[in-house]
């Protein structure tokens, strides 16, 4: 990376840091309070916490009446997210290679189609998908919503993988062919290891995208047995009888921890992908 400080050596960077720091303060504040409120109580009308408590985390060991068990929900979320990640990685690493390197009929057409779909307001399809799943009998099942979510994220995956395959030098493959390997072996043993960072980035992105997904499970699989964390949390918040921000926040922190861990460790990968842009 180029060292940017030299560029503006004549100017002090203090004013911009102060300005941006001030603007970032509200954001930092609401994130800080997200954590503070889950482990403390404040006196009424006060913003400063007065005592330490773990009572807001009681949802971990007691199931609330009318709500599914938190561990079942967490398990569902893990299954949902990991299957989606696996499917997207497998399917798009194959399809991306074909679009980048192999000679198949209608390749250009498929590529253009994927590009249009990638930029597509996919949530608008949810009405049709809802009806399709009801016809297929996959409504209110994890399988149905997994297939839908994976399919919706596929165009981006294929697109990214194709781009990364394009950067792999042809010479590697030619060497493999000359040595008598089949095209499949070449892909599996020579090309795939070359794009390991891309597989990482896509896997990370798919995991985060699946973990955060709300509207698809909410509409397509709202049942108690197949609920995921986002739907669970939303249903807690929507319940006006037990409005308790501290508990909501505790569930929220429980839900957001895996995301934050991944974010801290793989920030650079994510910057690259989100710079490509995928949502509003």
């Amino acid at each position: 990376m180029i060292e940017k400080t030299r560029v503006s050596a004549n100017f002090s960077s203090v004013p911009v840091v102060l300005l941006l720091g001030l603007l970032s303060l509200p954001l930092v504040l609401i994130y800080a309070y997200l954590f503070i409120d889950t482990i403390s109580n404040s006196d009424a009308g006060s913003l400063v916490p007065s005592e330490f408590t773990l009572q807001h985390w009681s949802f971990l060991w007691e199931t609330k009446p009318g709500k599914p068990n938190i561990w079942l929900v967490t398990l569902n979320t893990f299954v949902f997210t990991s299957v989606i990640t696996a499917v997207i990685l497998l399917v798009s690493s194959m399809a991306g290679y074909v679009l980048s390197r192999l000679n198949v009929p209608a390749r250009g057409f498929f590529l253009a189609g994927v590009m249009v779909l990638h930029a597509f307001p996919s949530v608008t399809l949810i009405i049709a998908i809802f009806i399709v799943l009801q016809y297929l009998g996959l409504y209110n099942s994890l399988l149905g919503v997994i297939l839908v979510k994976a399919a919706i994220d596929l165009p981006l995956g294929i697109w990214l993988m194709k781009g990364f395959y394009d950067t792999v030098p042809w010479e590697i493959e030619m060497a493999g062919i000359v040595d008598g390997a089949s095209r499949f072996t070449v892909w599996r043993r020579l090309v795939l290891p070359q794009i390991r960072p891309a597989v990482m980035a896509l896997g990370l992105f798919s995991f985060l995208s699946g973990w955060s997904e709300f509207i698809l499970p909410q509409v397509l699989a709202p049942g108690a047995q197949v609920q995921v964390l986002s739907v669970y949390l939303a249903s807690l918040i929507a319940d006006d009888n037990n409005f308790d921000f501290a508990t909501f926040k505790a569930v929220g922190v429980f839900y957001v921890i895996p995301v934050l861990i991944l974010y801290v460790f793989f920030q650079k990968h994510l910057m690259n992908i989100y710079g490509g842009g995928t949502k509003g």
Partner: protein, 433 residues
């Protein structure tokens, strides 16, 4: 190469099938459903023919006499009724006489039927007359027929001699399933509610885009450019948080900020202001927060794209300008902004589409409220088809509304495929010519 071709087809098949089934098919079906009046009331599979009071009312507008005739009870002396009468174990002569003298007769009202029954030789009591006449009540009102033929056959038996137009009208009025229609688009075109939602959407997209997705993103990119690399990466990480955070918890934090027992109320309470719900108390505040919370998410993409574009500007240009005594503002105005022309256009185009389609945040925060003040197009489609308070989910109308977005989406994406050479921009958005 034959082998590579077969291999290629096998390897691309899973992707093709999944996209076809769960992506392309819904697009086509959205178009198909938009031409129907599917709703909870009609169901999604085929319907039946049901003569209800509502159906009769529908028929009344076109054919009042026929509707009145159908809704009246009909009394038919038929074998079935006589058999039922025998089973009642009244005087046996009632049944025998009705069978021999009156079989096949049709009466237009209960009074006429009861006059005949009363005239039977064995003189049934008034209570018996009523019981007997009930057995011959063959009114079609509140009966259900699986097919159109069954309905018309039953009407014919009751003595209705219907012309083809009348048959058509009766079948149409009593059908409970969905039918093809272009009404959805007429509703979208004519209803003032839709116009209001359209204006809301235009306002929301334009303001969020201008202020945050482009404006604030540019501000972030330029300010972080003038910092040391490590400071800059901290700020970028902070401003990427809203995008990384799952939407449900992100909105929860904003609710905590704005709710009547939340942060803002407590904070303002220190200065004597009464607690209130800042998110939902009036339309202006609702819009303010809707734009703010969406803008915070939206700013990060622009920030990253613009940052990497600024990074690609040759450093010598900055050095040269500093030698010439350019101020920081002049650097921004004459070096950075002109070279960000294409990235800005790209982000504008891309985020227009994203904003048009995004409704998670609004659904979770204001639900389109207060009233319908922050209802945007995609949210309205969702409310129409999948979640509303009246309970009748209008899939057809919702699909038509979604189709409008689909069409806009396809047009916009085709445009930027063409104009921005999307393929090169997506991997490194630095195309300058």
């Amino acid at each position: 190469m034959r082998t590579s071709r077969t291999l290629g087809l096998i390897m691309i098949a899973p992707a093709a099938i999944m996209i076809l089934l769960f992506f392309l098919m819904p697009v086509v079906l959205t178009a198909v459903f938009s031409l129907t009046n599917m709703s909870t009331a009609t169901g999604i599979s085929g319907g039946a023919y049901q003569v209800t009071q509502a159906a009769v009312n529908r028929l009344t507008t076109d054919m009042p006499e026929l509707a009145a005739a159908i809704s009246e009870p009909r009394f038919v002396i038929d074998g079935e009724g006589v058999a039922a009468l025998e089973a009642l174990q009244l005087k046996p002569h009632f049944a025998t006489e009705l069978r021999s003298e009156h079989l096949g007769e049709v009466f237009a009202s209960r009074r006429e039927a009861e006059r005949v029954i009363k005239a039977l030789k064995d003189r049934p009591s008034t209570r018996e007359v009523k019981r007997i006449s009930d057995l011959f009540n063959r009114s079609v009102l509140n009966t259900r027929f699986e097919t159109r033929e069954a309905l018309l056959e039953s009407l014919r038996k009751l003595g209705f001699d219907l012309t083809p137009e009348e048959q058509e009208a009766v079948a149409k009025a009593t059908y409970t399933g969905w039918v093809w229609t272009a009404d959805n688009f007429r509703i979208i075109g004519n209803s003032p509610d839709m116009a209001q939602v359209f204006l809301n959407t235009a306002f929301y997209v334009a303001v969020t885009l201008l202020l945050f997705n482009v404006g604030y993103a540019l501000f972030l990119a330029v300010t972080t450019h003038y910092m040391t690399a490590s400071t800059a990466s901290i700020f970028r990480a902070v401003w990427l948080l809203p995008r990384i955070t799952p939407v449900v918890i992100y909105i929860l934090m904003w609710k905590w900020l704005t709710w009547d027992n939340g942060f803002l109320s407590l904070f303002m309470g220190q200065f004597g202001y009464p607690a209130k719900n800042y998110l939902l108390d009036n339309a202006r505040d609702a819009w303010f927060f809707v734009i703010l919370l969406n803008g915070f998410i939206g700013a990060s993409m622009g920030m990253l794209v613009f940052s990497s574009a600024i990074k690609a500007i040759p450093e010598t240009q900055f050095h040269a300008s500093e030698m010439d005594g350019a101020s920081r503002w002049q650097q921004i105005r004459y070096i950075i902004l002109p070279q960000l022309r294409w990235p800005i256009l790209f982000v504008t185009c891309y985020q227009t589409l994203s904003l048009l389609a995004s409704f998670n945040e609004i659904l979770l925060s204001t639900r389109g409220g207060p009233g319908r003040a922050t209802e945007v197009w995609s949210l309205a489609a969702y409310h129409t088809a999948l979640q509303n308070y009246t309970g009748n989910l209008e899939y057809g109308l919702g699909a038509a509304m979604a189709l409008v977005l689909v069409v806009i989406g396809v047009i916009l994406s085709l445009i930027y495929l063409r104009v921005f050479r999307y393929d090169t921009l997506i991997s490194k958005p630095l195309i300058e010519d």
